[in-house]
Subunit: 81 residues, 2 copies
Amino acid sequence: MDLTARTADQLGEALRRARKARGWTQSDISARTNLRVATISSLENGGAGTKLATVMAIMAVLKLEFRLVTRGSSVDIEDIF
Amino acid sequence: MDLTARTADQLGEALRRARKARGWTQSDISARTNLRVATISSLENGGAGTKLATVMAIMAVLKLEFRLVTRGSSVDIEDIF
DNA sequence: GCTCCTTTTGCGGTGTAGCGCAAATCGGAG
DNA sequence: CTCCGATTTGCGCTACACCGCAAAAGGAGC
């Protein structure tokens, strides 16, 4: 399960996979975030215009966080120590 | 240099650090993205309303990518099993 | 085929990001 | 303290996310 993203498209797809990995529907996320199902759908399909707040709200209920890594390096040096 | 973020605030701060680590000014980013300096400033200061496209554009010039990890664990659970 | 759940798409309305442009404030170097 | 580049803030404007509500389209199972 690769949850790495360089584009809004990839981020949307990663969030969709993380959601499904938890066995949740868009409706489940909607209930926990007060976001419309349509908004979640839009983001998962690569909505680059989506607000950062929307992304963070969804990540919060999925218990996810971002790690910014340099493109190309699979692991941050700091992660090892 | 911890580039992990759970909130828009932390993401903004992480982007600022990544930018400075490259020795760039907001103006440098602006020139490479067609975003206003003011927009970049707003994002770095935690603008949750910022559009995802804005974040991705900045990350692109900084050669960064997202990695979605489960909150609290330094390694993604799925990576182990 | 049909049914049920999930996801996507659409419309009118409201709020706000990002724009150009500008001014104000901050911060380090001398 | 004085410069001067970097960052932040403000105004009027346009564009669009997100809302509620609804309907249409997908997809799995019977």
